[in-house]
């Protein structure tokens, strides 16, 4: 007999399941709109030019493979923090922050979650927007935290339920933890406007909440890195000492290299040193020290003026293509004769779009048109191209008319 007879089969990952089914489909017109990675207008993965250049520069330096420090590559982490906070940030210039390299967004979130579990004794409760990225809940749960929710998405309007959010957040018990998506909310694509962010900041400050920002799409949302980091910077300027998780998977196309960072804004540099020492104690028994490759590439790009400039252009290019696909999808739907209001498709921002399609409609899209998406009606706009946007509009119209 086995030690593992009682081990249950884990449930299949809902998002991966979409890609599996897509791969099995033989329809030549099939579309994979479940993919959480950017695709170019030919539907192919895109390796940024600045990444290729950075890789060549790194190769020519013939560096060794010695272990990184536990907190990661310093040139990378410093540049990450500066990218998020802005070079003029008082918090950055004064050094009252600590930043450690994390395993992309997930790893950074998990370090933060573990840190809060160990050192934030005021509360076990983490408030997520409804809905949030599917992996947020298990990450915080495995770290030993409890999950709560605040209203966020309004399915009736396919936009932000601002009054609902404000009402819920005003009632969150003091010193709880609230998670906010810095930009390009996943999965809805619905972001607050700046005036709304200002009200949110005032409320969380009044409720004395610990703010945890998840920023996985800086630059990728609007095409402008400063604009996409606006909320993060505003909160810090309001005196809110946030914690922040960053990912370079999407905005640098470094998905499999796992480049990310976790930052804690502190009262002063001394507190930052103490926090850093504890973060290292958490990281060491997880994987000892982080992988170098993605961090080196990102560091080369951020710290080399020419490459940084090229990167900013390329990330804007990706964001612009997404925005253009949104626009084309809406105009194609109009051309198909759809009478529905599809404005939310262009109002929403980032890689994902909550179409508002119901599960039965999604099922028809999959079965009759080989258009694959998750049951909640979320599409990855990155999977749309000028070559297939017409077909997509046609299919959506057929199941919604």
């Amino acid at each position: 007999s086995s030690w593992w007879s009682h081990v249950e089969m884990g449930p299949p990952d809902p998002i991966l399941g979409v890609t599996e089914a897509y791969k099995r489909d033989t329809n030549s017109k099939k579309m994979n709109l479940g993919v959480g990675a950017y695709r170019d207008d030919n539907g192919k993965p895109y390796v940024l030019n600045c990444v290729r250049k950075a890789e060549a520069m790194i190769a020519s330096k013939k560096m060794d493979k010695e272990y990184l420090p536990i907190a990661g590559l310093a040139d990378f982490t410093r540049a990450s923090a500066e990218l998020a906070l802005g070079e003029n940030s008082e918090a950055f210039k004064s050094g009252r922050y600590v930043v450690v390299q994390g395993i992309s967004g997930t790893g950074s979130l998990r370090i933060g979650a573990n840190f809060l579990q160990r050192f934030f004794k005021a509360s076990r409760d983490v408030y997520l927007p409804k809905p949030s990225w599917g992996n947020h809940t298990p990450i915080f749960r495995d770290a030993g935290m409890q999950l709560q929710a605040y209203r966020y998405y309004d399915p009736k309007t396919c936009s932000l339920d601002f009054s609902g959010a404000m009402e819920d957040i005003s009632k969150i018990p003091e010193k709880s933890i609230i998670l906010l998506h810095a930009c390009a909310h996943n999965p809805t694509g619905v972001d607050p406007r700046q005036e709304q962010w200002k009200e949110l900041a005032a409320t969380v400050k009044k409720r004395n909440l610990l703010v945890y920002f998840d920023m996985a799409y800086q630059g990728f949302a609007s095409g402008d890195i400063n604009r996409d980091a606006w909320a993060v910077r505003y909160f810090i300027e309001q005196g809110i000492n946030i914690v922040l998780s960053q990912s370079f998977a999407k905005n640098m196309g470094l998905y499999g290299e796992r480049a990310g960072a976790f930052t804690v804004i502190c009262s002063d540099a001394d507190e930052a040193k103490r926090v850093e020492s504890q973060l290292k104690i958490l990281i060491r028994p997880m994987y000892s020290n982080p992988p170098v490759n993605g961090a080196r590439i990102a560091s080369m790009i951020l710290n080399t003026p020419d490459l940084r400039k090229e990167w900013l252009t390329e990330v804007k290019g990706m964001a612009d293509r997404i925005i253009s696909m949104r626009t084309q999808l809406v105009s194609n739907l109009k051309k198909e004769g759809s009478s529905h209001n599809w404005q939310h498709i262009t109002d929403q921002i980032g890689m994902f779009c909550f179409t508002g399609l119901k599960p039965e409609q999604v099922e028809r899209l999959i079965k009759e048109f080989s258009v694959y998406m998750t049951k909640d009606g979320r599409i990855s706009v990155a999977g749309v191209t000028s070559g297939n946007v017409g077909y997509l509009a046609h299919a959506i119209h057929q199941v919604t008319k």
Partner: protein
């Protein structure tokens, strides 16, 4: 970390070659790996540990999870055991770590949620060797189903491994008492210069029908320290059990790092998949192992030639990167302060720090420390 005879880090020639191949391959991109890692890496990494002709592999009862270094593999294994071994979420299952061991072992299992971490006798300071009787006694006394972390080869920090006969005795007790073997294999190939020899213990346990975990690191034997290349090999009773175990490990991975880094795994997979590159790698590994073995024999012969009090055969009996010299804390302090030779208070030296240029100085310094300080 390994150092050359010039005291420098060494990027293996085969690694340089493969990295160039990867850089020149325009079909490659930076897309996500699957959650469990690069398939070609996983299968080949487990094959390295268990052997090409492993019956367990033939019977399809081996699973693999690409992890971030040996540490990552230990952590994923520990997290799984805490959730699913000996009941559900049984944090009370005792976990036994050798005395001494790599310090991080304790933290890995503690942070995974285990509440009862104990030591088992291992190092006999008096005779400077394995305390087999103490070890076996601890296993006899251990509660049934306890987890034992075993160093597959090149025990860290003592460099003292059980002989095959001793491993057989250990396995016998563990089987009888239903103890779980969790191997930590960080030095396969690096210890003796032979992949097969260094994997003997793991393979023996598999042949004895154990279900076990083996956390593999490719940091040292591939010199890929900062790429974080590791593999958790799972050997189960049958394919069905292994499949369910892997599905649950996937969930653990998903909330820890989602999916593993691709660069290091690509290098290892490419190397292991090509007969030519594989041979080249084995030869690079032997180069490293042979240099360490040479430093051991040269240090020992110098100490014996100097007539340094005590016996020094343990320097060559021990294996791997580290050696427990037997120097006491005062003698270590002398080495550090007066001779500027850095070693741990435990008397552990890193053999990789020895070079043909400094052998004489180190031997003389040890001689001074032992004769001047009691």
């Amino acid at each position: 970390a390994y150092r050359t005879d010039e005291g420098q880090p060494w990027v293996l020639p085969v690694v340089k070659k493969v990295e160039q191949m990867i850089a020149n391959d325009n079909s490659l991109n930076h897309e996500y790996l699957p959650i469990l890692g690069l398939p070609e890496f996983r299968a080949n990494a487990s094959r390295i540990a268990l052997g090409d002709d492993s019956p367990a592999i033939k019977e399809k009862r081996v699973g693999s999870v690409q992890c971030l270094g040996g540490t990552g593999a230990l952590r994923i294994g520990a997290e799984f055991l805490r959730r699913w071994y000996n009941g559900n979420n049984n944090t009370a299952t005792p976990v036994y770590v050798s005395a001494p061991s790599w310090e991080n072992h304790n933290s890995v299992f503690m942070d995974a949620g285990f509440k009862d971490i104990r030591t088992y006798h291992y190092w006999d300071a008096a005779k400077r060797g394995l305390d087999l009787q103490g070890l076996l006694n601890d296993m006899e006394q251990a509660p049934e189903f306890s987890i034992f972390i075993l160093h597959a080869c090149a025990h860290n920090p003592t460099g003292t491994d059980p002989t095959p006969e001793q491993w057989k005795q250990i396995a016998g007790v563990m089987k009888r008492r239903s103890l779980f073997p969790f191997f930590d294999s960080a030095y396969q190939g690096f210890a003796s210069g032979s992949l097969d020899k260094d994997a003997w213990a793991v393979r023996y346990f598999v042949s004895e029908g154990f279900e076990l975990f083996c956390a593999q690191s490719f940091s040292k034997n591939f010199g890929l320290y900062n790429e974080r290349v590791g593999n958790l090999t799972v050997v189960g009773k049958d394919a069905d059990n292994v499949q369910r175990v892997l599905s649950q490990m996937e969930k653990i991975v998903r909330t820890t790092w989602s999916n593993p880094p691709s660069q290091g795994a690509r290098i290892v997979a490419t190397t292991l998949c090509s007969p030519q590159l594989f041979d080249e790698w084995k030869s690079n590994v032997k180069t490293m192992a042979d240099r360490v073995l040479l430093m051991r024999s040269e240090l020992r012969s110098r100490l014996e030639a100097l007539g340094t009090p005590g016996t020094w055969n343990h320097i060559t009996d021990q294996i791997g990167m580290f050696s427990f010299t037997g120097l006491n804390p005062k003698q270590v302090e002398y080495m550090v302060k007066e001779k500027h030779i850095y070693l741990m208070a435990s008397g552990r030296i890193n053999m990789c720090g020895l070079t043909t240029k400094n052998l004489d100085y180190v031997a003389k310094s040890i001689h001074e420390a032992v004769t001047k300080i009691q």
